[in-house]
Symmetry: C2
Subunit: 267 residues, 2 copies
């Protein structure tokens, strides 16, 4: 008879490839017990009520999400505890009977980073990656115009919109890829210069840092393009790839990824 894994066994499988774990870590069971027999797994970027409801309808009782339930990275601030919406969501999660585990730090510590590597794969860039760093992938792309690259990314990731900075006609080939909230200037700017990069693609970052750097770099004759994918949009492929890996490890239970709608609509 096929073995039904416990939540603990699934969590151990999630942790196994991580090179190390930070102390403290945000990765933990946000709801549910470690000895839960897991009937099915859903991975998602964000453990929204829709994701949890669809998991339950499909007979899955473990959601593995990249972010937390209550709208903040650490989820320990007073705001999470005091928010009425957070309280109502907590009750809905409890009623659902679905356990929720957060897999954030571990996945970023796979070698290479499980989120960045899956994003590179989803973009079709995997063959062009010359180096995986802990925080970035560096790629030598076939030269193409920034606007063309953006159109290709929209198509490949199925995005209704993305944001770019720089000249859409500028040719780009040396790319820096930064998943999630790694678009800040302190990380991106030294990397762009050290790698003589002419393209940075990131999830999210402060608007007055790297985008303004790119604007001035172009005005100073240093051609540079920037594509901001959106935070969820940049990390969704990592959680989809994780579902594929878990399906291989736990062949006797259903495992699937659920993709949420974009949180923003561009108008």
């Amino acid at each position: 008879m096929p073995t039904i894994p416990t939540a603990r066994a699934v969590i151990n499988a999630l942790l196994a490839p991580a090179s190390s774990m930070p102390e403290p870590t945000v990765d933990r069971l946000l709801h549910g017990r470690p000895d839960l027999p897991v009937t099915g797994i859903v991975t998602a970027f964000m453990p929204t009520l829709r994701v949890i409801g669809q998991a339950r309808e499909a007979g899955a009782n473990l959601v593995i999400a990249h972010e937390g339930l209550f709208f903040s990275h650490l989820e320990r601030g007073a705001e999470a505890a005091e928010s009425e919406v957070a309280r109502a969501k907590r009750q809905a999660v409890e009623r659902s009977g679905v356990a929720v585990y957060r897999c954030h730090d571990a996945l970023h510590r796979y070698v290479p980073d499980g989120v960045t590597a899956a994003l590179a794969e989803a973009l079709g860039w995997a063959p062009y990656v010359r180096e995986h760093r802990p925080e970035a992938a560096l790629a030598d792309l076939p030269p193409a115009a920034l606007g063309e690259i953006a159109a290709g990314i929209k198509r490949r990731l199925g995005l209704p919109a993305l944001r770019l900075a720089g000249d859409p006609a500028a040719m780009c080939s040396r790319a820096v890829l930064l998943a999630g909230y790694r678009g800040g200037g302190a990380l991106a700017i030294p990397l762009l210069e050290a790698e003589r990069a002419d393209l940075v693609v990131y999830g999210e970052g402060p608007e007055w840092e790297t985008p303004e750097y790119v604007r001035e770099a172009n005005r100073l004759g240093r051609s540079c393009g920037l594509i901001a994918l959106g935070h969820a949009e940049s990390e969704e492929p990592g959680m989809a790839a994780l579902a594929v890996r878990l399906a291989g490890l736990f062949p006797h239970i259903p495992v699937r990824h659920i993709r949420e709608e974009p949180v923003f609509r561009s108008v």
Copy 2:
């Protein structure tokens, strides 16, 4: 003969309405001397090379900007000092002969906040503001659908695009207005709930906080819309209003606001 003010006199005029100043403050002369005789003033959100060049062409030798020259809020990190683009920009600023003063903390400490009040005015919301807080304006708007409000904001601010979360058909009237990078969950979420607000309009904030809160609030039956203007887009009116004020204080020199292009293009 009309008096030509020094940069120091202009700075003193900028500081005068501030209720207090933080220690330390980011407000300071980023380039130039306090005893500079000021021939003309340009205000801007960001002291870009284009703004500085246009100021110089117009005979103005003092740019008053909300953000700094080198792509970070504090501008004291290693990244600002080591960036090639920052070095080249610094040289271009030095060659320009234009002084650059940063007016950030003071303007946010005007009563009401000079950035938020100007944004409310630019949106046509000034008559509906019921309370100005240090970090937000609270407004009772004529009820309208979220999508209509967004379209009106685009028109009034002249924006090519903005981002919204929530149902475009949902009626909104109790609004929270947050300029700049005040869209984070720790600030916005308790305010939305305490004020029973059904609309939050902010400049910028982490995508996985307030937008995800809004998504779940709607799913839990608490109607809430969100409009993200963009950081610069939300603070530009404050710097435009500052030019009007300075023109009244220094009638013998030309004072104007220069608006930059949006740093992002939505595609």
